[in-house]
Amino acid sequence: MSNPTDDSMDMSQFHGVFFDEAAEHLDRMEGLLLEIDITSADTEQLNAIFRAAHSIKGGAATFGFTDVTELTHEMETVFDKVRKGEMALIADLVDVFLASGDTLKALLAHRRGDGEAVPLEEVEALCLRLRAFLASEEEREGGASGTGRGGKARQMIELAFGPLDEGFASKSVDGVIADLADFGKLEEMVEPQDGGPATQRRFRMLTEVSLSDMNDTLGFMVSPDKVKVSLVEEQAQGGEPSATSAGAASEATSVGDEGFGLFVDAATLPANQPVSQPVGVVSGSVTPIKPAAKATQAPAAPSGEAASIRVSVDKVDQLINLVGELVITQAMLAQTASEADPVLYEALFNGLAQLQRNTRDLQESAMSIRMMPMSFVFSRFPRVVRDVAAKLGKDVELQTIGEGTELDKGLIERIIDPLTHLVRNSLDHGLESPEERVAKGKVRKGTITLRASHQGGSIVIEVSDDGRGLHRSKILGKARERGMEVSDDMTDQDVWKLIFEAGFSTADQITDVSGRGVGMDVVRRNIQEMGGRVEIETTADIGTRISIKLPLTLAILDGMSVRVGEEVFIIPLAYISESLQPSPDAMRSLHGNQHVVAVRGDYLPVLSLAQAFNVKADVEQYEKGILVIIESEGAKTALFVDSLVGQNQVVIKSLETNYRKVSGISGATIMGDGRVAMIVDVAYLVGLANSRLDKAA
């Protein structure tokens, strides 16, 4: 379809709004479709679904996104009947709508520039399925009443497109023709050719659509000088031409080729009237507003969405970055000033204290812009659960709690995949079949609960089910089969953790739903990369709960600064269990210069931070330095450092973007004195220490 745009007007500037808006409509539509009770659907819900399709169609047609227009048009037509009660809402229809929603998302993603192209056949197939609902409905209706559409007058209309040239290719005609398909069947008239390329294409169509309506429709697809519409013959079928349609047409002073018309005499319009003359109008109502009046009124005219504005993530990130710089500058000032005499410089100190408070508030506000509610993630699960449960023949209810809990946008996007995997796993392996549940004396319907809550500076996201729970001996058996090192006296926690080991998800577990190569080890790795951790609680035949604990944001971090020689390192506070100065008899040395330290009966591997990063330490003897006990995934390690500097909140700078990825370092920050300090990667260090210990032992 040719895009009806003015050359001087770049329509692409509105694409962004449209994509965002369409995505919102699709999400809302999906939510409504999932919650709708087909036996007693609420009219407002039906209207809202209709409007979603309608709005997307409107925008898509404006930008010439024909595939989107075509599909939404079919959806709109079908749902219009449903909302008017002319057609029953059946489960099949909900399924087709959900599938159409998915296809629309893919189509829009592709238009937006990400995602692959959607094959046209997929769109066509959905359109056909949607049309089939209408056809079966019409059949039913026609059989019952004997009237309906058949009673309207039909006529043969001829459409002549051309002249065809570069600006209006034959291809564009195909697009227009496809759009007209629902008005009736179009047949192309074969022109006698004189060898040269066709300059015109002609079609005929038997349709109920009036000439002026056809003109209206074509008016916004093709420029008027490129198409001619003419009446070939009129065929009254089943009686008189529709009185209402003829009446309305004659009343409307139709200007069909402009897609615009008036119900009134054009002479009465303000444009054709001397100023302030309209009959029956309160004086002054259409007279222009004086500039002065406008100036005072203009600020009071908010746009439609005063409650929120759309801002690109880049801008927000830039803001957060700048606030980060400000925090660092503030810390530098505070540090420099701390050497001054507080009595002499009282005003300066007060000012700095104020600056610190303001900076912290500003930082918090800036960070909160990036925060998004968990509902963004949870809202996709009703669909996942519905589809997977249907495939597995399970009866499942999904509960979501704490949708309002906020999390950084970056983390929100990265938590979706691991969470989806966990939910699918629960559905597939956790929940029993309805029969099995009944046999166990449980309720037939299983429940999966997604819960999000804040705990201190972290967010905890839980996936729990009331299924069969993890089976200790089965897991141990499977682990042995896979050649993993296990023993019968492992603690339950250690046994449960085995399911996160690479290679534990095994071939005989692979179903259509989960276990397709991507194992729980990937889930754990993803979560660790986000600075989070996973915990499992399970009870046989009661259920399983998997909790993911994540930092609220990746932009700031509560850290402990430690000193090694000239260098300062930051250890994320969340991983530190304690710090201590060891007594000489607590230290044991092993073969290969490896040491362990006895902490309350446990022997922990000791890792010198100086050694790990090859820097020079001031303190050589353990009993003169400090051991910081860090913990990751249940394994502990004692990090040996010269001294503790202090605890502070640091702004994380990515080492990867500014330099390159370095093993053992998760990022960097700028300290109050302007120096760069590295943030250590706790999981890596714990792994390193334990592997060295294994070698030494």
């Binding site: 009806p4 745009t5 003015d6 007007m9 329509m11 500037q13 509105f14 709004v17 449209f18 808006e21 209207n47 809202a48 209709f50 409007r51 309608h54 709005s55 169609k57 409107g58 925008g59 047609a61 404006t62 009036s210 309506d213 209206d216 429709t217 008016g219 916004f220 209402t244 349609s245 009446g247 309305a248 047409a249 009343e251 409307a252 402009e258 897609g259 615009f260 018309g261 008036l262 119900f263 009134v264 054009a266 319009l269 303000p270 444009a271 054709n272 029956g280 109008v281 309160v282 109502s285 259409v286 222009p288 507003i289 500039p291 406008k294 203009a298 005219a301 746009s303 439609g304 969405e305």
Partner: protein, 121 residues
């Protein structure tokens, strides 16, 4: 002399397009996201032309038109119904509600300006 046009549509895409186009043509544009919002925005303002969508949440366009026509200052302000349905039904209903005319959506921005000029000059 700047004339104010009230654009009522639940689609932000359409609203932005209409607003951008008409502002570019020298009109002042008030935006409203549904009939209810449209009525609130219309109250106490001097509007030269109302462009409204039909199907909107909270209050549809036709209901809004009927309410507007009940307000003395809107009794004869031109009101155009924007619609994707070009059927005669809609036109008859739009006329009964008190609309001045109709404009098929989607429209070419240039044509929107032409139509508006034709109506309010």
């Amino acid at each position: 002399m700047i004339r104010t046009i009230l654009a009522v549509d639940d689609s932000a895409t359409i609203r932005q397009m209409v607003a951008f186009t008409l502002k570019g043509a020298g009109y002042e544009v008030l935006e409203a996201s549904d009939g209810q919002d449209g009525l609130e925005k219309a109250k106490g303002r001097q509007v030269s032309l109302v462009l409204t969508d039909q199907n909107m949440p909270r209050m549809d366009g036709l209901t809004m038109i009927r309410s507007l026509r009940g307000m003395p200052e809107y009794r004869s302000v031109p009101i155009l119904v924007l619609t994707t349905e070009s059927g005669q039904d809609m036109k008859a209903r739009g006329k009964a509600a008190g609309a001045t005319g109709w404009l098929v959506k989607p429209f070419d921005p240039r044509r929107l300006v032409d139509v508006v000029k034709k109506i309010i000059g």
